[in-house]
Every structure is written in C-alpha cells, then in structure tokens.
Symmetry: D3
Subunit: 146 residues, 6 copies
C-alpha cells in the first residue's frame, strides 16, 4: 500500500483486535530491557504497594499498542516519533487491551517540506473494562505525492 501525505484524511480511525497482557509478556519485557524493578516482577513487594499487584511496564504497553496498529504497511510512511505518551491507568496481568488510532492532524515538515509531511495519529489503548490505560500521539513522516 502507498498512501501519500495528501491522501491522509483527518478523523480516519483504525482499531486493533484485543490482546491479553500475560505474566509472560512482562517477564520477556524485563529480559529485553533489563529493568528488574519490583513493581513488575516481585509479587510480594507489589502486594504492599500502591496497586496491590504487579503492573505491566509502560514501555511494554506502548510497544504492544504500536504493534497492534502496525497492520497493512504504508510503504511511503516512516515512524517519526511519539508525543504526549501518558500512562493513565495501570495494566495488570490478565488485562486485555485494544488500541485505536485516529488521524488528528497533518502538518508541514519544516526540514524537508517539498518531500514529506507529518501526520499525527492519536492512539488510545483501553482495557476490558473500557478504561483508557495509555494514550499517545504517533507521528508519521509521510512522502508527498507531488
């Protein structure tokens, strides 16, 4: 698929299937990042902490959400960055998350204004209780059609 900057339309929405965040996902993320903080991998410590149980890593949920929305590939778009990543509610082991992306803005890309534009996708991740757990803006650098 090739979808050029000019062809993106604000308010377009995509939604992912659901996925349950498991203890395995957390253990693998600990191993991938080297972050062995007890919030995520010490069940005893977590009992006496703010949430009463282990919570998923913010970077895990961000990574999974980005993956859930990496569906049909746009060959002329690149990931430029993220803005306003906010961890709103904790994700616990066994929670099931779904990601929704909405195109909320298009902007010129000052450095390469002739070739590329920037597209902002507001991503919202919700759990099985309908609570928003994380929200962020995924910025894509997209080729202009010319």
């Amino acid at each position: 698929m090739k979808l050029y900057f000019e062809e993106y339309e604000v308010n377009t929405i995509q939604a992912s299937m659901g996925r349950t965040i498991t203890e395995t996902d957390i253990v693998i993320h600990a191993g991938q990042t080297g972050d062995f903080y007890p919030h995520h991998i010490d069940a005893e410590w977590s009992k006496n902490n703010v949430f009463g149980q282990r919570v998923a890593y913010g970077t895990l949920i961000l990574s999974v959400a980005a993956g859930q929305l990496a569906r049909e590939m746009n060959e002329v778009a690149f990931s430029y960055g993220y803005d306003k990543v906010r961890f709103i509610s904790p994700v616990f082991i066994g929670d099931t998350i779904t990601s929704k992306g909405e195109i909320v803005g298009k902007r010129e890309y000052a450095k390469r204004t002739e070739d590329f534009g920037l597209v902002d996708e507001q991503v919202t991740v919700t759990n099985q209780r309908g609570e928003t757990v994380i929200a962020f803006i995924h910025i894509y650098m997209v080729e202009k059609k010319k």
Copy 2:
C-alpha cells in the same frame, strides 16, 4: 532509595553502560509486539530499501534506553509518561547504544499539587560512532517531602 521532589536537582546527569542491539533483540521484539514489518525482519526487502539493511524498532530502542536508566530504584517516583520521543538515526544490528539522562526541569503537577511534582529527564541515546539515535523526555511523578 527515597529521593523526594524537593531533592531533585536540575542538571544532574546519569549515564548507562553500553549494550549491543542484536538480531535476537529484534526478533524478540517482533514477537512481543506483533509488528512483522519487513523493515525489521526481512533482510532481502531491506537490501533495496532506504537504509540497505534491517533496522531496529523505535519502540525497542526506547524500551532498552528506559531500562538502561532504570538503575537504583527511587521508591517515591513513578513513570508519568514520555514527551518528544524522536527517532533521529537508525540503529542497525550490531550497533552498541548508551543512554544518558539529564534532569532538565521540575514543575508543579496541577492535579495533585500538594503531594507530587513532575521531574523532566532528557534522555539521549548514542551509538558507538557517537551519533544520537533517539532522544526523549522521561517525565517522573515524584512525591513531595512536605
């Protein structure tokens, strides 16, 4: 360790050890996120693409960098979010990255101004050639001492 909001000092710097990003890290990240785009896992496709080889996932490098700086735990700080995450240069298989964090700002947290403040840490990730590959602000919500 308990380091309260009042005790954070702007310009404080921490630096991580290095870590080589391997093909294994990329394959595990594909499996963790479900993003099987060819930029990351198809060596043939990548030969003919912009970088001439597979590149690491942005979310992988962000996650690893956050992990590299998750050193001694501050029991009164929480991860609030990320701002201005920017993918500046590609990370290739075999590149070695190091993360540096610098406290660049302290702010009131409007919603809970009596209990917490926000601390901004500017994180910069560089490769073995000294190039910045990713930069972002990690925002911590930190208890006030009172």
Copy 3:
C-alpha cells in the same frame, strides 16, 4: 470478516510479506519443542553433514508459513488440519521466506454436512532464490451460510 463456505472461490490467491529465518528463530524453536538434534543447533556437526551447515526445523517453517498467512481473520473458519506437508529444500540461517496460499478445492464435511464444508488451501513457501522449500495443504472447516 465473515466469509462463508459458499463464498470461497477456487483459485483465489493470497501472498505474505517476506521474513528472514534467523539463528534466533532456530534457537527459540529448539527451546519450544525440546528437539536438540545437531542438524539444527550444532554448527560443527553440521559442517560435516549433508548440507554443510545448520538447517531450520521443518516444524518451524510450517509454523511460520501458517503464521504468515494468518492475516485478516475469518470468524467462521477453523483450522481442520494439514495434508501433504513436504520438506522440499532446506532453509538455512539467513534465508528469507514468503508464503503463498491458493484455494484449490471445496468439499463436503461428512460429519457435519449441514453446518460446515471443507476448504483446501495449497500453501507454497519459497526462499529468496525462488526455490520452493516447503509445500502443504491447509484444510479449513468453514461455516455454511444457509
């Protein structure tokens, strides 16, 4: 998506993106299956064997191929089984495989003829040199529309 038995059309083709089979995939498959035969994980032994190098597990390539074609989900189809799975050429570390599926037949399902029919998809997996490495028939049990 709901695609009923009556709606499947013989000769319909789907094709996957490519994926490079890495040493990591082989090591993870060894761990997942418990098959530690030297053909797959002993580089020294393999030097003196028929292919001169380690080869990927047949079940790895079968599993990856099935995954490559697990694209948009048909909610009324189930995996019934595989027929005529044949390992035609070896897959080496670094080979890139692509899977193609073609609907080659529709049949009645004797046990539940009113509710379901069987659909045969011929799957062919090729490497970057255009050689067929594995071929098999994936049989789906698909709801009838009635």
Copy 4:
C-alpha cells in the same frame, strides 16, 4: 544410532514423557509465528467463543509432539513430511500432553529407490484426560543398508 530402512519393524512403538502446555508456550508461539488471532491470545474474546477460553495453536502442538518424539537420533533418517495432520480436540492452557509414535508402514521411495525407503510413523497426542488432541503421520526418509 544407525537404524536402516530394512531394520524398521512395523508396530514398533515409542512413547514420550508428558509436558504441560503453558500460557508461556502460547505467547512464545505467537511471537515465533506472528499469528496474533484472538483464539490464542485474547482471553476476553475467547470467553464468548466456542471453547470459552484460549486454545493452543495447532502448529504449537504439532511442533511439541514432533519434539517429544525426537529422542535418540537416527543418523540415517530424515524428516520427509507429514500427512493427515488432524486437530481433534482443543488443547487448553494447563493441559498436559503425551505423544506416542507407532511405525505403521514402510514403502519404496520412487525417486531414489536404491538408496532410500519411506517409513510412516502414526503419531497420536493425548491429554491428561486420555483424549486424543492431535494425530498425524510423520514420514521419514531412511537410508537403505544395501
């Protein structure tokens, strides 16, 4: 071990030890194959589906069964393919499976009739309740002794 075509005897049986299929096995198989269908990884969706819970991938059970029977290596045998792979009962998280292989046939291998013959092993996988969950024929290409 070297067991030549002429030495295989029909009705010979081998049986594996047991192995519990865990949530971890399923998550790792999702990551290895890229198949993120909700039947396997979405606990909420599965509650309302035919089995009321997540089920293991067919290719996971096939791969594990093949691994369970990859015991003492026969240096003169090669995996030729699988026939009649049938998913008979679902495998749920926590089920324990055992694999049994029985030599059920020996045949000439038309393409290389002087050097090799084909041996059919009927593999049957059962769970802790004695139910057959998967069955298939593993075909080996075995050197002739001459």
Copy 5:
C-alpha cells in the same frame, strides 16, 4: 568501579531486591538448557511426586541469584567458580526469592600470586517465607593493587 583485592573486607554484605520465579522463567530455562524432565514441566506427573507440584531448576535459581548480585560492576574482578552449591528447599512457581552475599574469605591464588587473589562470597537465597532455598560460594579472582 575498581575494587582491588586488598580493598575487599570480610563480612561486607550486599542484598538484592526480590524477584518472583514464574512459570515463564521455568519454561524459558527448559528451552535454554534442553532439560525437559517432568519435575519442572509436567504438572500432572508432579502432582504425584514428592513435592506435589512442579519445581524450579536448580540451575535457574543459581543463575538468577548470581544475576541478582551482579550489581555495580567491579572492573578488576572475574568470576572464578562456585563451591558448595546446595539445593536446600524447592522453589515453586510464584515463590519470590532474594539473594544475599557476604564476603567470607580472602585467599592467595597460587597460580598467579603476584597479580591476583581469590575472594569468597557466601551467597544465600531465601524465599518469601524466610526459608533458605539455595546456598553457594561465589569465588572471584580479583586483581591486586600492587
């Protein structure tokens, strides 16, 4: 950090954070080692065995304990070996372990007496009930300052 042989002091103690040993850790260790004994991965078999449930691998607990105490790196110390590794109590899925290391001895290293000495650290690993599960001596070869 550079801590020379002369600077080590007997009775110095370090203690790790806690970590819960999960089913995932066991499954990954099975895959890493190729040890698929039913004590660790067959829940049914284990029900009727001495502990009534699956137990963690001794090598897993040893490896995790060594990792828990691999904190700030001493650039002039090397791992020389382990002595008196003893598996004292079983570790079950869900148990949380903490490791403590105490310097209990310093000795000459006969082979390279001018450059290096040996330092013995007694490591004790306890679970959430305060029971010792494993104990061992970690021997470091440490540079002399001269």
Copy 6:
C-alpha cells in the same frame, strides 16, 4: 528408569551431543538473570577487554552442560548440588560445546543414611578445539534399594 545407589558404578561415563552457543543464548540468559554486564552484551566494550570479544556467562554454560546430561531420567535420583565449579576457558559466540560425565565417587549421606547415598559425577565441558571450558562435580542424592 530406576537406578539405585547400589547400582551406580564408578568410572561409568556418559557423553552428550554437541551444541553451538549462540548470541541468542547469551541474550536470553541476560534476560533470564538480569545480569547485563558488558562482558556478555557489549561488543564494543569487549573489543578492548581481556578476551577481545563477548564471552558467554558461566551460569549459562553450567546450565547448558547440566541440561546436555539430563538424558534418560533416573526416577530415584535427585540433584543435590554442585562442587568445584571452575570456569577454565572462555566460551565465545559460535563455540560448540560437548559435555561428558563420569561417575567418580559414591558416599554415604549422613543425614539419611538408611534411605539415600550420594553419587559424584565429574562433568567436563569441552569446545570444538578440545579445550576444557568448564568443569564441575554434580552431586546426586540417590535412593538405596534396601
């Protein structure tokens, strides 16, 4: 298999197949243990260090060796501990190791002298150049036949 204490014979030898230690094994071991020391995962740092390249974890090689010799299960033997674990030569990425176990001693088990005895197996792990990389004594607690 049931092999009682009385039936063990000193000088009995078992030998494993070979296995290549891959970068993947090291990355997974880092993740499993939380030991992210640069000796194992920082290729740049390692270039300038004693071995000029990354080396495998001692606990990885110990765990793999124990797994390589966990062949036919003796139902009346238990792992009691390890003695004299010595890291003799480094294992580099791509080295292939083989493990040999020799029964070198039988002793009374003071605590339960009527029921159990101790059996010492000297394990020696060699690489493809014939160098010993690690050696240790695996102590088994074995039921007496009575």
